[in-house]
Amino acid sequence: MAALIRARGEKRAVRRAGEAGKRIEYLAFVLAGETYAVQIAHVAEILRVPPITEVPRAPAHVLGVISVRGKLVTVVDLRRRFRLAESPMDRRSRVLLADVGRGEQIGLLVDEVQQVWRLAFEEIEQSNVLGGEQPAHIAGIGRPAESGGAILILLELRPILESA
């Protein structure tokens, strides 16, 4: 529930920015053939996949921990988190270092990083166009006009960690 309220908060922020005529930058990446995107303001860094140390008894979607310049970062496998088919990492795999609030950064393992999209308010649809109750981590659908029909699943980061 709390996650939903926060997700709404993000949507409100998106709306405000839209009303002000500003565009919001999203970083698009691929997971199991689908294109997802997160606000680039939340992404601190994009890393090649470093050696990951597994943490026994951690939740299934947690791949393990890595050390980024002396700080420990938990890495989440977004495929597992979204219950998508798993595939081995390859040379295009990346870890997005994302700020998730609570003073913590987490790593998100993605198949491939694509590009940055600057979305205007009109280019963002509410998540309920997908019908009914959507998971809290889906903030909306992005349809960048200049892309000629690309669809971005816009993600809200905090709920990803909260209910697994």
Binding site: P50, P51, E54, P56, R57, V65, L72
Partner: protein
């Protein structure tokens, strides 16, 4: 959310908060001293002045930073304190209660200002009302006592209200009055005066001092000092020595011949007192010489109800500032208290030190890599022999400097335990007053140093333990008297360093814990079965109070023992890598002992391998590591137990517990790392022992906080990360179902 404060402002604000917090902490300490002094019936007036000054500084700070609630509280407190130091209000426990309340409110206000607490508006209002009522209840001072002394009215006329109060108080206490004439060199008067004060202080109180203006050559000044003391004139003469010191006693007049009117109200200063410096008018044998007052910048003008003095005439320029400066350092200091800090210290956010520590950790990794490289070069290239020697030498230098840096940073993180103890003293006072029990807190080893982070985390567990000791240990006064104990209970808080650990003991002289009663409750609560209970040693029985589920208020009172949340204490201490132990004798008292590592930042670990993965076990928890002899493993009630030197050791196969896949090729043999926390032992079965290493332990992120069994992780080099096992948590997890069965034999003196 509501608009940005600049970074600069934030920083200044942080600075304000920490400075204010320091002042408030100091205030609490001073109040405790006052409390103690009051109980002994011997109050040092200077203490009240210190408190007054601290509150005054707080008020100034609060004003600067718009902390209106704090400023308001400080203002009201100042009034009360002023009344106290001027003797208009009598200092008693009730006033002291209000002052202590104010200290805790300051704490809450600061927390609210810092965004970590709610604004205690209502409580502040209440206290303000209470304080206001207090300043109404002023007592009249003693009248006329001063007039019994042969003091010059001209001098009395220029005493400040405070000085007059001190004079009166001292006379009422039956102290003698002495007049000291001391010649100072103008160049060094400040330090000489301080020296003199230090010499005089053990014997009494200096009430005032004034320049005599007599016989002064251009480089010296003679001061006339009025001092109250119980000592004889001979004693004073022998202890307050100096080439230009003369001491006389001020005689008491014969009864009835007192100066009419006394000085209970400040007399208007007499005109002669403001004559320019000239030959003193001598008014008879032993009478004080009337002297002009330097009123130029003296503190007296700033005392709240200032005796209205007409501006004094201009004196010799060189004289005014030095005397004024000397006087400003005297008790009745006023507004001129500087906000500038005078200490040579720098306040540093602990997080900055953490970052530095991280860098040092990184450097340690680099060092290891260089050492490896040096080794490889040495083995490889016969032709590069010199280079390799050079490299090895550089590496050793690097290693040495790195070690220095590491210990330097660790040293900076160390703070005296007193930081946590000060707060406890306040708690003791509060609880003992709430419960109507007289308790003395005796602290030793407050200077023992420990990592700042640990100190922060210690306050709550210690408070809990002390609360328990007073609540359930210390008997009420009557009961104590009936068993022949001193009426006032004692709680000893002892700290000392022991190797790489700091030991803190909380010991009371209360009624102790009755093992029979504890067992009854434990069985009733289902913590142990009757059968298990019969096998427990007395020590094991006491340890039951730390078991979760054992502890409810109701149980504790049933028992007239302890147990309020002691499991929480144990958990919190365990989080710091420490242990709690307990001993108790019925009728004599109870002692709880906390053993903690000195620092959390760097620990020595044993690296072990499970499958192909590295894990670290803190060496502080490792008793020994032995090869696993499978033939010595037995199964007792579905639990594997190894026989080591005739004693049973429960073992845990970590690969199985963690679900780590085994290597294809089964190893010829495995190892057992015997972990010990407190008096419990567990053998951790691992595939390989890799070696020892100093590591910087880092916490796992919040998203992994629900994962049990790991204290954190550490980077080993080439980006590899090893998880650090939490021995206490593992022992807990593995042994909990049969908790009390596998207590360490050593602690029992052998169980062969």
């Amino acid at each position: 959310m509501e608009g940005g404060r600049g970074d600069g402002t934030d920083k200044a604000r942080d600075e304000f908060l920490s400075e204010a917090q320091e002042l408030v902490d100091g205030l609490g300490r001073d109040l405790l001293t006052v409390d103690e002094a009051l109980k002994r019936g011997k109050l040092d007036a200077e203490l009240i002045n210190d408190i007054f000054r601290a509150v005054h500084t707080l008020k100034g700070l609060a004003g600067l930073f718009g902390a209106t609630r704090m400023a308001g509280l400080s203002h009201e407190l100042e009034d009360v304190l002023d009344d106290l130091r001027l003797g208009r209000v009598e200092l008693n426990q009730a006033v002291l209660d209000l002052l202590f309340q104010a200290v805790s409110l300051y704490g809450r206000i600061l927390a609210a200002e810092g965004g970590t607490g709610s604004d205690p508006a209502e409580d502040v209002e209440q206290l303000l009302v209470a304080l206001g009522q207090f300043s109404q209840r002023r007592t009249g001072g003693g009248v006329g006592v001063v007039s019994q002394y042969d003091l010059d009215p001209g001098l009395l006329g220029v005493l400040t209200e405070y000085e007059e109060h001190r004079l009166r108080t001292n006379i009422q206490q039956g102290q003698g009055l002495y007049r000291l004439r001391v010649r100072f060199s103008l160049a060094t008067i400040d330090s000489e005066l301080d020296e003199l004060k230090a010499k005089a202080r053990p014997h009494g109180e200096i009430i005032t001092y004034l320049p005599t203006g007599s016989g002064a050559d251009i480089d010296t000044i003679e001061l006339e000092i009025l001092m109250a003391s119980r000592a004889s004139v001979e004693l004073l003469r022998s202890s307050i020595t100096g080439p230009d010191v003369n001491i006389d006693e001020v005689r008491r007049r014969a009864a009835g011949s007192g100066h009419p009117g006394g000085v209970s109200t400040p007399a208007p200063p007499r005109a002669p007192a403001h004559d320019s410096i000239g030959p003193p008018t001598r008014v008879g044998g032993d009478v004080l010489t009337p002297v002009p007052r330097t009123t130029g910048g003296g503190a007296q003008a700033q005392l709240p109800p200032p005796p209205e003095l007409p501006p004094g005439p201009k004196h010799t320029p060189s004289l005014v500032p030095s005397v004024a400066a000397a006087r400003a350092a005297q008790p009745p200091a006023g507004q001129e208290i500087s906000l500038r800090s005078v200490s040579q210290t720098v306040r540093v956010d602990i997080r900055k030190l953490d970052r530095l520590m991280t860098v040092v950790g990184e450097l340690a990794i680099v060092k290891t890599a260089i050492a490896n490289l040096a080794e490889r070069v040495r083995n490889r290239a016969a032709e590069a022999r010199e280079l390799s020697i050079e490299l090895a030498r550089l590496n050793r230098t690097f290693e040495r400097h790195l070690a220095q840096m590491q210990s330097g940073i660790l040293e900076v993180r160390m703070v005296p335990l007193g930081q946590a103890f000060d707060k406890l003293a306040r708690v003791v006072r509060q609880i003992s007053r709430e419960h109507g029990k007289d308790v003395n807190l005796v602290v030793t080893g407050a200077e023992t140093e420990i990592d700042k982070l640990i100190v922060e985390e210690l306050s709550d567990p210690l408070m809990h333990m002390i609360r328990n000791a007073i609540d359930h240990g210390t008997e009420p006064r009557d009961e104590r008297l009936s068993v022949g104990k001193p009426p006032v209970g004692t709680i000893a808080l002892n700290a000392f360093q022991k190797g790489n650990h700091v030991v803190i003991e909380v010991e009371d002289d209360g009624r102790g814990m009755d093992p029979e009663a504890l067992l009854d409750v434990a069985v009733r609560r289902g913590v142990v079965t009757r059968a298990e209970a019969s096998e427990l040693s007395p020590r094991e029985v006491l340890a039951l109070v730390f078991m979760p589920g054992f502890t409810t208020k109701e149980v504790a009172t049933d028992l007239s023992g302890r147990g309020v949340g002691l499991d929480v204490v144990k958990t919190n201490i365990a989080k710091l890598g420490g242990i709690v132990d307990i001993t108790s004798d019925v009728g004599i008292g109870t002692k709880m002992t906390i053993t903690l590592p000195i620092t959390l930042a760097i620990i020595n670990v044993l690296l072990v391998e499970l499958g192909s993965r590295l894990f670290a076990v803190p060496l502080a928890n490792v008793e020994e590591a032995i090869a696993l002899d499978e033939s010595q493993v037995r199964t007792v009630e579905a639990r594997e137990v190894l026989t080591v030197r005739g004693a049973s050791l429960p073992i845990c196969r970590l690969s199985r517990l963690f679900g780590v896949p085994l290597r294809e090729r089964e190893r010829p043999r495995a190892f057992v790392v015997i972990a010990r926390v407190g008096n419990r032992r567990l053998g951790l079965v691992v595939d390989e022992l890799v070696g020892q290493q100093d590591i910087v332990i880092k916490p796992l992120g919040k998203s992994l906080k629900s994962v049990r069994g790991f204290a954190g992780a550490t980077e080993l080099g080439d980006q590899r990360v090893a998880l650090v096992l939490d021995a206490a948590a593992l022992i807990e997890e593995v042994l909990l179902p049969t908790e009390t069965r596998f207590l360490a034999p050593a602690a029992e003196g052998g169980r062969n």
